[in-house]
Symmetry: C2
Subunit: 475 residues, 2 copies
Amino acid sequence: MKDQVKEITSMEEDFAQWYTDIVKKAELVDYSSVKGCMILRPYGYAIWENIQRVMDERLKEKGHENVYMPMFIPESLLQKEKDHVEGFAPEVAWVTHGGEEKLAERLCVRPTSETLFCEHFSKIVQSYNDLPKLYNQWCSVVRWEKTTRPFLRTTEFLWQEGHTVHATAEESHAETIDILNLYAWFCEEYLAIPVIKGQKTEKEKFAGAKATYTIESLMHDGKALQTATSHNFGTNFTEAFDIKYLNKNGRWEHAHQTSWGMTTRTIGAIIMVHGDNNGLVLPPKIAPTQVIIIPIAQHKEGVLEKAATLQERIAKVARVKMDAGNKSPGWKFNEYEMKGIPIRVEIGPKDIENNQAVLVRRDTKQKEIVTLDALETRITELLQDIHESMFARAKAARDEKTYVAHSMEDMQKIADEKQGFIQAMWCGELACEERLKEELGVTSRCIPFEQVQHTTSCVCCQKEAKHMVYWGKAY
Amino acid sequence: MKDQVKEITSMEEDFAQWYTDIVKKAELVDYSSVKGCMILRPYGYAIWENIQRVMDERLKEKGHENVYMPMFIPESLLQKEKDHVEGFAPEVAWVTHGGEEKLAERLCVRPTSETLFCEHFSKIVQSYNDLPKLYNQWCSVVRWEKTTRPFLRTTEFLWQEGHTVHATAEESHAETIDILNLYAWFCEEYLAIPVIKGQKTEKEKFAGAKATYTIESLMHDGKALQTATSHNFGTNFTEAFDIKYLNKNGRWEHAHQTSWGMTTRTIGAIIMVHGDNNGLVLPPKIAPTQVIIIPIAQHKEGVLEKAATLQERIAKVARVKMDAGNKSPGWKFNEYEMKGIPIRVEIGPKDIENNQAVLVRRDTKQKEIVTLDALETRITELLQDIHESMFARAKAARDEKTYVAHSMEDMQKIADEKQGFIQAMWCGELACEERLKEELGVTSRCIPFEQVQHTTSCVCCQKEAKHMVYWGKAY
């Protein structure tokens, strides 16, 4: 069984099964007897480590410091901000016993850590000199989900959660937007995933936030994925937790606050934006292995030695591995296509004779012969080229699946027959948003920063439109 | 209040209070309303990040791969290995409700992850080709402790837990020892803490292990600290979880297994081995900031500019910060002594005139004047020298507090009057070990690899001695 790469369901036949096949067969995750949770296997976790490394470095460059908060939140602490507890209490895991003893107060396993950060901030923020506080933490959180799918929705997932406190409303707003831009930059520059930046509606915003901003991306199947969010709390939490500072004029003021997060969900986005019917296609910048060397006719004299030399050379410009195992080259080709490694290098006796190697890129499967003298240069170019092509293809696919609806009928047709992002005007009323959800099954994804005024009236009620909104079915 | 560095209790007066003062005043941790858990503040977490970075790199070099397992363990899974569940069940936190619903089966928050790894291994290990599996994970674990102290014993703590599976008993033994040596090397080379390597007695070994190995270090107050442990499970878990592989001869065999861990406890060891009555003293290799520059008379022309130039130069050889804040130099000296920064650089108008700077090392408080031409070289030398001096002092202190006991009376006297490591011969019987604990309050720390045969009879029962053992009071 381990001697063949098993085929996967084609995405046209069954997209959900295609997705599940990839996460299993590319060895990203495994299931366990813990319902709704997943095991991140070495290959899946290595992708997350690469995401972490880049984001952590950038966040630190911007002055953020990492901390670690307890994983438990006492029930009374969770209840301090009214909207927040309403939003999260129904979906938390409760610890009721420690050892043999029943706890006097239940603890929830953190679904997010605003309340813990607030309690801490209320102690360490006293004066304008103490501000801003720019904190971040890498951890796992738990939300009790009924239906789960690896990466997209799991009971426990990994993320970073940033929590900052500022003196003024302007500063907390600026931080929220700055981080949203960082997320967008990261998705586009590292994951090759184009995103729409915008604001969530009142209905869709985070429990306890004044404003939630989001980046939204579009999957192969036309469904949207909320890829990261950034929240401006204003003084909602600082009032509930009494986080005040003495300003320069000697007066006490409530501080202004933000939080923002990006999760292992991004790995689900990578699969569903770039993957194909041969498996995963990894963006080069976060691929654990960027180049795989496959020796051809490796029993012949000099082949393995030469392959090892190439590996040493390539290691100076890329993350490279060689597979000199006993499996056939054909088996190996399939295996590393399944794992989405950006470039395959084939080197056999004929290539050695001709001072060349064969390079095959994973995204387009284009083959080229490169002279060994140009090997490092060409691989560097190719990795960049693959990134750019992947981004361009993803953008073209998204644009092709982005529609404009002028009426409910339009919208229904698009939602039922085509799937994708639907741009439509909206009056700003909750009633219309709810009607679109109930009748057409679409939710508001965001009010994009880049507005286009298609018409002047709401697609639903025909009253005066306030915004153009992206609608869609979503993960 | 924030304008002065508050004094700390002296360690001679009250060691426990001295410790608590340091963790608070050096801003390593804060308390929260979550009983027994601690908040790792930026400075404390940055030390842990440095520990992680070094250990993670070394583990990967040795072929280990990182994974992430769920934080929950179903009760039935925890119960699969008899000794293991007996050891851990009394001290776990139980999740009984998800949202509004009572769970059909309780989940414990992982106190350690053997059972989850085993369940996974039983699925992915089939053939000798699949072995070894060398896995590691960085996460937090929870043990319901009655009395807690920051870093040393907390309900939740951070650690790495390695889990490996091997074909043979020889290989799992070799891995266990190899990792113990890695831990010892890390403590001595990075934390400047000398350790005793040895094996735990049957009584003190890990729940479910065949053999537990440990590194033990000695604190300022003469108490021992178990600093990291490495366990050889043999086939205890692989039999319980049916982890079998087909060997080269086509026969099924149970695999052999290890686990090993190092925790944020090491930060407690750093405090209690190196700290003094002015605060923390950080080993240079893991200090978040290695050099702090304090401008003197910074309002005078050219001082801040010169200090900034020095910062740029030093940044090429060390982790450096400058404090150009409004506080007085004296305040800053105290503040960075409290934080244990290895080298302070003072630069003022007179120094600039003389093309020099003043260097003050934290460990000995020795001052020296260095010509600016030699600044980088001298700082590099000094950091190495500080590391070596700290190690040498810690070793001398430990050796001075290491005693040999030939009788129960000897031992009692040492335990009561002196505190420290006590070397004494032991017959190997549980009864004697228990009697020493009950009557003298000492536990066996380890059977050291380096044996010295002081006498031929057990310190307790006078029967034939099997080993020399390190005994002591411990954290």
